[in-house]
Each structure stands twice: as structure tokens, then as C-alpha cells.
Amino acid sequence: MDLELSDEQVWIEESVNTLLDRHWPPAERAWQAGEAERTRLWESLVEFGLFGGSAHGQLGAIELCLVARAVGGHLASVPLLGSLAVRNAVAPVAAELPDGFAAVLGGDSRVSVALLEPGRDWSISDTSASMNSTRLTGTKAAVEHAAAIDHLAVVAVADGQPGLALVAAGSPGIEVTPQSALDAGVPLSRVTFADAEVEGVLEGELGETVIDRLTTVGGLLAAAEAVGAAGALFAQAREYASERRQFGRTIASNQALRHLMADLHVRQASSWSTTLFAAAALDDGISGAHQTASVAKAYVSRAAREVAHGSIQVFGGIAFTEEHPAHRFLRRIIMREQQFGDAAHHERQIGRALAAAASRVAA
């Protein structure tokens, strides 16, 4: 048991933070970033080696969470979550991948995950999109950056079992309709597939294993990004409270705010602990790692929101203005909370698992 981040892990996060400082606008202007900024950031991340090169081999879930936390802290937005999650999800079965998959994921292709369907929840069993080994039909919602990616990783049913298809963006039969979204920095779209051609399909047990890991890693990365955003907002609130004076004293000297901020610190620090722990459990193949990730996603979904709300309260009225960046962080936090299952979704799942385990013992 070794519970400290390694020097390499610390270095990866520091490097990505430096890179974001250099290639991405500051948080208050980040939402205005366009394709030019996104492309520049994406290229620098590729150059850093997130998709190949020397750093690549060491990137487990822990490292990806470190990257995602840095991204959240900067309110950066590139098709990173899907691109990293899909690659991490297939890594354990790399030898069994069909050619189409291996070719695409071996490069620096930008990939978004298409899982959620309109009117349904994040459970895989809710999937109605269907496919065979060459064609895919169905409708997916909340697909990130759908207009600026190379591939879609689509969850769809093949022969009655959920599988994962890789589809080239822009193929005939794909229609992308932009959706309204809370976080203007991360464009979401509804994507309709009408007999669209697939480049590769993971079916059967292999498909199930990969999808399980994809949703787990995806949820962890969403959580890590929310932790990053909440941490950055809280740091600003703390600084503000230490300078802002009312009634002849800094507002941070009032016990009501001191205790509020102490609670926010606990939420923030423990959110990161549970995210890291779940990532480590996944990397080490600890049994129950998927449920641990569910615990982390459920907890962070509530906690990051609490940190954002508390921070906004510390700022007071100024944080309710459009020009203040607080709401940009809040928007990102809520958006990530909803991705790969919100708190209620995971709490229901964990509760059902507890009940199922108890009835197995009783039987």
C-alpha cells in the first residue's frame, strides 16, 4: 500500500497546468474560446504525449484524473474526456481489439462518447440504439463537441446485447443538431444515426467489459473535472474573503463565513480523495472498483455543487453578475455532475446493489 502520488504523477499535473496557462484563455474569458483556441490546446496536449509518445504508457486512471482536474480548474474545453476515457477503456483488452478500433485509437483521433438517449437514463440497459457489424441506427443526446471531433464511440445494442461502435464523424447518415446547454464552453448536440457506417464494433462480453470501464472512467474524469472547477472557484472565494472588508473587518474573520469555508474545504479535499482512490482502485484492478467509482461520482456530484454554492455565497452579489467568472465554474460543475450519471443515479445503483447482495446472502 502506497498512498502518495509519485513524482511522475505530480509532474504530469504540473505540466498540464503550465500548458493550460500558456494555451488557454484565463477562466473569466474561457467561455469565449473558439475553434482556434481549442485546436491550439488540443495540439499542445497531443504534443505533450497524452495520446502517444513517452508519457503515454504511464497514463492510468490516476494520471487521467490529474489531467481532468487541471482542465476543470482552467475551464478548458476540448474533446478530451471522451478521447481519454475510450482509450483507457480499451487498454486492458488491446490485444483483442478489431482492426478498426486499434487503428483509430492508436492515433490522436478526437473521440466523443455517445451513450445517453433522449428520455432515458445513463444505465446501459436503457440503450435502444441498435447496430450490426456494419451499420448503426439510433439517437443520442448530450454528445460533446460533436461538430469538431473525428470519431464517435456509440453504445448500441447488437444481437440483444449492448456493444460499442466506433463511427467516423461526418459519415453519411449522421445528423448533428446542437442542443441548448448550461455550459456554453462545452457544446452539446443531439446526434442521429440513420444506417450510419461503423468502423469497428465491440460486441458480446468484450463489448460489455469495455462499456463498463468506459462509463466508470468517464464518470471519474467528469468528477475530476468538477473537482478542478470547484477548487479553482473556492480558492478565489477564499482570497476574496480574506481581502474584502465590511463593518471594518475582513469578511473572512466572521465565524459564520469561517465555518462555511471550513466545510467547503472538507467537501473539496474529500472529493479529491475519493476520486483519486477510485482511480487507483481501477488502475490496481481492486475488486469492487466500479462501485467505488460510483461512490466517488455520487459524492463529488453533490460536493462540488456545494462548494460552488458556498463560494458564490462568500462572494455575495458580485458573483451573480455575468462578468464575474463564478457562474462559469458553476455551469461547468453542474454539466459534469450530469454526465455519466448524477448523484441520484449512482445512489440508486448503489442502493440496488446493497439490496441485491443482501438477498443473495439470504438465499
Partner: protein
């Protein structure tokens, strides 16, 4: 970061499990009567010490195991997971023992540490007073130097296991002329000394696990001073942080065994012919309780991780303490909600189980008070972690 157990950690866990299988003993078998309970608990800790499971990371020259701290974590978790009772010399192991190791001299360590580990001498702490609770530094118990002795007078409260203790670490004011934090010293008091009176106090659970301690001109030899004169406050802060940081790991395992117990009760009991556990609201409540316990574990691991690699247990232990009380109280309340009217069924078979949950619930209210209240923990975080200005 590596969660997987090493081969030696796995071997140690096996060793603990083999010991547990031999001893075949868990908390449910504890006698209810307090004197008998104490005798059994002392024997239990002695057996565990004999097996090398107490003070495993403490220095070998003073009776400890001299092993890496991670091994004590492995042991504590295995013991707790099997439902083994907590070590009864909790104040000696968690508070005064670490203080002796850190601030004591070798004579004191040789004299006091081994019987702490074996539970031969139970320790208590004389910190709080009726007029000095959260504001510990306002304590009024006085120790006056008289040649080679101190003469102590005052009143202490919340003295856990005071009526069974052989020794007490007493915080007393030794200097009135300096700022109040600096005039406090820590003295080791033999509870059988003339002038010491212990009066057990009954808690809301009906048990008397703590006492009041009255000191009336109690004479203590000078060699019983821990550290230097005026070090008392520093020692108390060190030890309380230590207690908060390390208690969480066995505690979360205990909470987890309680959660599992609650789930199986909810699966057994029915309302309107349906098991309580089929109710989605009950499932979700228990899930949230589990999440609280899990996150406590994850955060404690990360904080203790810093401690294991040589860092001191710092103010971050207050975060662990807050999560611990939150997890315990959430669990206890959730179980009341989930069991609901079945607690009132009057079914005789349900009485022991109901009593357990009532007691667990009542006890949980102390979790945000003992060892520094929730509000004190927030103050510590505001001051020492967030460094918020005071004016």
C-alpha cells in the same frame, strides 16, 4: 499511489485472521455489566498485544513492534472487520502513549509504554474541566511546585474509563504569570494517590464509560512531568491531532460492519408483507450512508498517507474528524428511518437488535462533540488550513 496489498501486508492480514479464528471472539459476546466487560476487554487487548497486534509501529525498545505504521493499519482493519472490540486502553494508545513517545524521556517511556500496550495499566486523560470545555486553555486545575513534587488541585471531567484507570495525564496550570497557553503543563498522576477521587458519570446511553475526577492536594513527584514545564498545551494539541488522524481507519471499518448489519436487518424485517429493503427510498438512504463511510475511508487513507511517509499528523486531521462524525451520525439516523415502525413492533425477538440501534444512535450524538466539537474542528481548519484572517 498503489492500493494493492503487498505480499507481506497480505501475509500479515492472514496472520490476523488466523488469530481471530483461534480466539473466536467478537463485540456481541461482551458482557453487559461494566466491570466484567472491562475485565474481558483487558484480556482481549493483552492477547492481541501478545500476538504482536498492538503498538506494532511503536519503538521495539519500549515494547512496541518496531514495524512500519502501515502494518498497524492492516491489523486494525482486519480486527475491526471481524467485529473484534476496540482496544480498551484507547486513551493510552491514542493520546498519552504517543505523547510519551514524542515528549517523554527514556525513563518515562520504559516505565509507562509496555503496560499501555498490554492494557495492564489503563490510562485516562484529565484535560476538560466543567468550566474549560472547548476553551481548554482556560483550565483552572493548578499544580504548585513544592521541592521535588507538584501539588495538584482541581476538577476534571469527561474522563473516559476514569474509574478503571491506573494513570491519568493531567493538564494543569503551573504558571499564572505567562499568557494562558504557555502556563500549562502535563503531569502523570497515579489515580490511586491520596486526594484523587473518581466519580463515574452515566451517559445518555445508560453506560458509565466516563467519570469526573477530583484532585485535592494530590502530590505528584517531579519526574512525572511530561516534557518541559509549560509544554502542556503543545503536547495536548499534538496528541489530539494524532488521535483524530489515526482513529478514523478502524472506525470506518466498524461503521461499515454496522452498515452491513443494518442492510441485513432491513432485508429480514417486513412492513405490509414486504421487506423494508425493497423500498427504493430505504435503498437510497443506505446508499448515502455507505457513501459517507467510503469517503471517510478514502480521505483518511490520503491524510494518513502523508503521516505514513513521515509527515506529522497536521490540521488536515480535523477534516477526517468532521467526515467521521458526519458518517457515523448519518448512518445511525438512516437506520432509525429505515427500520421505522418495526422498532415499535413489540416483538421480543427484535429487542436486542432494536437496543443495539438505539444505543448506536444515542452514542452517535457524541461523535461531533468528543475530541473537539465540530465547531472547534472548523475553527482549526479556518485558522491552520485555510489561514483565514482573524480580523
Amino acid at each position: 499511489m498503489q492500493l494493492a496489498e503487498t505480499a507481506s501486508e497480505r501475509a500479515l492480514a492472514d496472520e490476523v485472521r488466523a488469530f481471530l479464528a483461534r480466539e473466536d471472539f467478537h463485540s456481541e459476546q461482551l458482557p453487559h455489566e461494566l466491570d466484567e466487560r472491562m475485565a474481558v476487554l483487558k484480556r482481549w487487548q493483552a492477547a492481541c498485544y501478545e500476538a504482536g497486534f498492538v503498538g506494532r509501529a511503536w519503538p521495539a525498545e519500549f515494547g512496541g513492534g518496531g514495524r512500519p505504521p502501515v502494518e498497524q493499519i492492516v491489523v486494525d482493519q482486519e480486527l475491526a472487520a471481524a467485529g473484534g472490540p476496540e482496544f480498551v486502553n484507547v486513551v493510552g494508545l491514542g493520546v498519552l502513549g504517543p505523547s510519551l513517545l514524542r515528549f517523554g524521556n527514556d525513563d518515562q517511556r520504559r516505565r509507562y509504554i509496555p503496560p499501555i500496550l498490554s492494557a495492564e495499566e489503563i490510562w485516562c486523560q484529565g484535560f476538560s474541566e466543567p468550566e474549560a470545555g472547548s476553551d481548554l486553555a482556560s483550565l483552572r486545575t493548578r499544580a504548585v511546585q513544592d521541592g521535588d513534587t507538584f501539588v495538584i488541585s482541581g476538577q476534571k471531567t469527561w474522563v473516559s474509563w476514569g474509574q478503571y484507570a491506573a494513570l491519568c495525564g493531567v493538564l494543569a496550570r503551573t504558571d499564572e504569570s505567562v499568557p494562558r497557553h504557555r502556563g500549562i503543563s502535563m503531569l502523570i498522576v497515579d489515580v490511586s494517590s491520596p486526594g484523587v477521587e473518581v466519580r463515574p458519570m452515566t451517559q445518555i446511553t445508560g453506560h458509565a464509560e466516563f467519570s469526573e475526577l477530583f484532585l485535592d492536594d494530590v502530590v505528584v513527584p517531579r519526574e512525572n512531568l511530561l516534557g518541559e514545564l509549560g509544554d502542556g498545551w503543545r503536547i495536548a494539541m499534538y496528541t489530539l491531532g494524532h488521535e483524530r488522524g489515526t482513529a478514523a481507519l478502524p472506525r470506518q471499518v466498524k461503521l461499515r460492519t454496522w452498515l452491513d448489519r443494518a442492510v441485513s436487518v432491513a432485508a429480514r424485517r417486513e412492513i405490509d408483507g414486504r421487506p423494508l429493503l425493497e423500498d427504493p427510498e430505504a435503498q437510497r438512504g443506505l446508499a448515502r450512508a455507505l457513501i459517507g463511510i467510503e469517503v471517510l475511508r478514502h480521505h483518511a487513507y490520503r491524510t494518513v498517507g502523508e503521516f505514513l511517509s513521515g509527515g506529522a499528523v497536521g490540521p488536515e486531521s480535523s477534516s477526517v474528524k468532521l467526515l467521521m462524525s458526519e458518517a457515523e451520525q448519518r448512518l445511525a439516523e438512516t437506520v432509525l428511518d429505515v427500520l421505522g415502525p418495526t422498532l415499535l413492533s413489540g416483538d421480543r425477538d427484535d429487542v436486542p437488535e432494536n437496543d443495539f440501534w438505539y444505543e448506536t444512535y444515542l452514542y452517535s450524538r457524541a461523535a461531533s462533540v468528543y475530541g473537539g466539537t465540530r465547531q472547534i474542528q472548523r475553527d482549526i481548519i479556518a485558522d491552520r488550513v485555510l489561514a483565514l484572517p482573524k480580523e
